[in-house]
Amino acid sequence: MGNQEWLGEFEQVVLLAVLRLGTNAYGFGVQQEIKQQTGRECSIGAIYTTLDRMERKGFVSSWTGEPTPERGGRAKKYFKVEGAGQLALRHSYAVTTAMVAGLEPLLGGGQ
């Protein structure tokens, strides 16, 4: 765990949204998924900045999709979580689980 790159809270949320959307993960879709699942409003710019940063780290990859009329003929930029991104997410999840262990009664979870 020591050499693992730490994910920020927003990075985790964005990565999880990309994972949930699968092959249909693009900026607007990610924004709507985050809003739907967490109720959190975030700008498309913030999502792109985060995804851009994670792409440089090798956590996600992107490709340009097809243009659609509701986008004024602009092409979509799709994202996909790579192996390194999944590893980083697993690491974050493990850290959170380890830290939460024993605190279930306080946090309202567990048995």
């Binding site: 700008s43 913030a46 792109y48 900045t49 004024g72």
Partner: protein, 172 residues
């Protein structure tokens, strides 16, 4: 704002057309009365030669002239009304097209966004405008929200670029 300006301009054109039509009709009436008096004079002259046929002939000529001028005036009025309807129709259509489009000026701000993401961001914002903002808030508020989201996007992109530059410099 833009559609208001176009509508005002169209209204000015229509009023100008209307004024010109009235002026032209008045001119023709004046010419007709002048021609009429000339015809009467000629008719009097001819009546002295052949009193029965010349008076009838002169009346007919004046009647035909009247009908021609009236038909010209009617045609002009018809053209005027048709052009008015066409201009109004175009104005309404233009307003509808403009309303579907996000504000063009806001797109210039997006030139601040890095080129590699620009296409995707502009498309996403446009999709958000059409599928979420307009149905939920209506056109005026949707335009306001679009501007707001464009500003937020630019701020995020600039902050991201500054952060990247800082990390680059701090690593040496």
């Amino acid at each position: 704002m833009k559609s208001d300006r176009i509508f005002r301009r169209q209204l000015q054109i229509v009023l100008a057309l209307h004024a010109n039509t009235d002026y032209a009709v008045a001119e023709q009436h004046r010419e007709l009365s002048e021609q009429g008096s000339q015809q009467e004079f000629d008719a009097e002259f001819l009546a002295s030669i052949n009193p029965t046929s010349t008076a009838v002939w002169a009346d007919r000529k004046i009647g035909v002239a009247h009908q021609v001028i009236q038909s010209i005036a009617l045609t002009r009025k018809l053209i005027f009304h048709m052009s008015t309807l066409m201009l109004l129709g175009l104005g309404v259509r233009r307003t509808m097209i403009d309303a579907d489009q996000p504000p063009h000026a806001a797109k210039f701000l997006l030139l601040l966004v890095p080129l590699r993401n620009r296409e995707g961001i502009i498309g996403d914002l446009e999709e958000e405008y059409r599928t979420i903002l307009v149905p939920e808030y209506g056109h005026p508020l949707a335009k306001f929200y679009y501007w707001w989201h464009v500003i937020l996007t630019c701020v995020s992109s600039i902050a991201g670029a500054i952060g990247g530059l800082y990390r680059l410099v701090s690593r040496g």
